[in-house]
């Protein structure tokens, strides 16, 4: 292909002429160092290229060579437990090649380790007809994940030869007899990151993704195949929420994209994840995690690509029939990368300088989440759940990135600086957060856990809303003006807030709560309310009830520290509570109704 010449360099943006052969979105090699870039605009023979590496030292006159291929990722065994940069270069290989802890420009690596040998076991026999998306064999990639080798898109034919054994990723493992002659395939597929992988059918997601976080699972659930946004000011705990979901969410594969945030946060992930044991499989959760890192000091253009790299890998695992969760922390940094490139391209800015197409780009990303049936003769059901952190400057969610995100996602976990200051973590504000999946999840959990689940959640939410109203009255005229029932409501709301919603991510027991334990805990708190209400009706005074139940209320507060294996203790508290309040009523000299 014809070689172009650089005419302008502006940070990560390089303009070259003589590029009439190239197409938009082609990957280019820029300069004598062969930096990797992607064409993002074409005007005549002038191409604007965003360069994914540092551009210092290159100047006008340097050559640009287009590879003629769009930016793609390599998909195959070796993805799990790896850490890649924004354009899928493995960081550990990179470190060895560059002999540096930082990204050195012009280093070319391959995404998947070529030398590792994988045990391949075919699932089809010679002579079988296969179409795109069919599984032809399996590779046990880690102890928990069986990597399924699928026929690439656009290929169909008859299996001519296939073998069991150990192979490297580039070795031929099967040959198909197609209409255009025999074709040999290895275990690698390539896929352009900016195109969603095709599916047979998109489904309506209904099954909740259990995260073990009480406020999320109970009040603002996200479904497998849904999308959620976590906006919040600095220090409100966005990263901890994302980490918690990555650790405890019941997705089978987790892709964690550290996008423009602090490098230490990725280090935390690297330090913590290998030590944590997945409760479902008993293996380290690193065995199901793929990390993509573009920390704040890495090239800004690659940040733009990192999100797409992540979701393409997620889609690949979805096609195997897994439920995948992708966390992006934070999409604001990604939007800022878009803004930087847009500014350098001299495009007309929209709100706050973001490009006018910000909304459609964000939509493109979140719309790739979903529950789907994959291609192939026997379609598999898989899902991609996208959870994006958003860091609105000053915590003001009326800014463009948050607003464009909220237009698409159906779950909003609004983190609150005030709550964070009060040490209420996770600081998800229960009054302005929402989940549009609540009805579906309610129906699902009514069947899976207990028929009263949805009603209980509704009741607890109503109590919290009443508390907000009562708080205003208290602030105006004082607590004495409230009736005893209202004061009880305040007391119960406090219990829901402190004993249920607050959850310590750094406590061994409290960090994860199963749905059964959540049900028992919530039922216990609501039982306190109904039992106390009955006592008030029968003539007991609120002060007497509160005084008599001090010790029991303390046990309710500590019920979150009851290990999963002993959750029957929670039921015992409820029984004790019942007995205790009966005693109080009797002391009041009143008859049972």
């Amino acid at each position: 292909m014809k070689e172009g010449k650089i005419i302008k360099v502006s940070g990560p943006l390089v303009v070259a002429n003589g590029m009439e052969d190239a197409n938009i979105q082609d990957v280019c090699h820029v300069g004598t160092d062969r930096l990797i870039g992607e064409i993002i605009e074409m005007r005549g023979d002038e191409a604007s290229i965003q360069v994914y590496e540092e551009t210092s030292g290159i100047g006008p006159g340097d050559p640009v060579i287009s590879s003629g291929e769009p930016l793609s990722v390599e998909l195959g065994p070796g993805l799990i437990a790896s850490m890649f940069d924004g354009i899928q270069r493995p960081l550990d290989t990179f470190m060895k090649l560059a002999n540096s802890d930082f990204l050195v420009k012009g280093v070319e690596t391959v995404a998947l380790e070529r030398e590792t040998e994988w045990t391949f076991k075919p699932t089809v026999a010679v002579g079988d007809q296969v179409v795109a998306g069919d599984i032809i064999g399996e590779v046990p990639e880690t102890k928990v994940i069986s990597h399924k080798i699928m026929v690439p898109y656009g290929v169909k034919g008859t299996v001519k030869s296939i073998e069991e054994g150990t192979f490297k990723v580039e070795d031929t493992v099967y040959v198909l007899e197609t209409e255009d002659g025999d074709k040999a395939f290895n275990m690698i597929q390539k896929w352009p990151v900016r195109r969603g992988r095709p599916i047979a059918e998109k489904l309506n997601p209904k099954e909740p993704m259990m995260t073990g976080q009480r406020v999320v699972d109970t009040f603002f659930p996200v479904v497998k195949g849904g999308a959620a946004a976590v906006p919040g000011p600095f220090g409100a705990g966005k990263t901890v929420v994302q980490h918690q979901i990555a650790k405890w969410g019941d997705a089978e594969i987790v892709i964690y994209v550290g996008c423009g945030e602090r490098g230490n946060e990725m280090t935390d992930v690297l330090n913590e994840f290998p030590e944590l044991i997945d409760p479902k499989t008993g293996e380290s959760i690193m065995e199901r995690t793929v990390l993509i890192a573009n920390t704040s000091n890495m090239p800004v253009a690659a940040r733009e690509a990192s999100i797409y790299t992540g979701i393409t890998i997620a889609e690949y695992f979805r096609d195997m029939g897994y439920s995948v969760a992708i966390m992006a922390d934070s999409t604001s940094r990604w939007a800022e990368a878009l803004r930087e490139m847009s500014g350098r391209l001299e495009e007309m800015p929209g709100d706050e300088g973001y490009p006018a197409y910000l909304g459609s780009r964000i939509a493109e990303y979140y719309e790739r989440a979903g529950k789907a049936i994959s291609l192939g003769q026997q379609g598999r059901e898989g899902s991609v759940t996208a959870i994006g952190a958003v860091s609105p400057p000053g915590g003001d969610i009326s800014e463009p990135v948050t607003q464009s995100t909220l237009r698409i996602v159906k779950v909003f976990w609004g983190l609150d600086a005030t709550l964070a200051q009060q040490r209420h973590f996770p600081s998800i504000n229960w009054l302005n957060s929402y989940s549009l999946y609540l009805t579906e999840v309610g129906d699902y959990l009514n069947e899976a856990v207990d028929p009263s689940w949805a009603a209980m959640v509704q009741e607890a939410m109503t109590i919290l809303q009443e508390e907000a109203n009562l708080d205003e009255i208290v602030r105006l005229v004082g607590i004495d003006s409230l009736s005893e029932k209202d004061r009880l409501t305040l007391e119960v709301a406090k219990s829901i807030r402190e004993d249920y919603l607050q959850q310590n991510a750094f406590d061994d027991v409290d960090t994860f709560t199963s749905r059964e334990k959540q049900f028992l805990m919530l039922r216990l708190i609501l039982a306190f309310r109904s039992i106390s209400l009955r006592a008030l009706d029968l003539g007991a005074y609120l002060d007497e009830v509160l005084e008599g139940t001090i010790e029991l209320r303390d046990r309710i507060a500590r019920s979150k520290y009851i290990p999963e294996a002993e959750i029957s203790k929670i039921e015992q508290i409820q029984k004790d509570l019942q007995v205790k309040v009966e005693e109080i009523i009797e002391k009041g000299g009143l008859q049972h109704d």
Binding site: S481, E484, G539, D543, G588, G589, L590
Partner: protein
């Protein structure tokens, strides 16, 4: 709309009020007093007279109705003579309402 007046106290003090058509609740101990006052309050008697000695037995119960419009609890002397607490309460309430002691 007519509402009745209730009176709670020891039998000797309150019996004459029966002649006036008041709901008379005679009590002898703390528990009876509490149940009696709470019952009248629940049945929406707008005014409940309570004799001073009985009121002294159940300060918690009297306090519960301090901040509500209905019922109004008014302390009256018993047949043993006044203890002064009824008058004291009225003086306090007037002071709260108008800002100074005008009695």
């Amino acid at each position: 709309m007519y509402k009745k007046i209730g009176i709670v106290g020891d039998k000797d003090s309150i019996l004459p009020f029966m002649a006036l058509g008041l709901e008379v609740v005679a009590v002898t101990n703390e528990m009876e007093a509490r149940i009696g006052i709470d019952r009248l309050a629940k049945e929406a008697y707008p005014v409940i007279f309570v004799t001073e000695p009985v009121a002294q037995m159940v300060p918690e119960t009297i306090k519960r109705y301090d901040n509500v419009a209905i019922p109004g609890i008014i302390l009256i002397p018993s047949n043993q003579g006044t203890l002064g607490i009824g008058k004291e309460r009225i003086r306090e309430n007037v002071e709260k309402a108008v800002g100074q002691n005008i009695l």
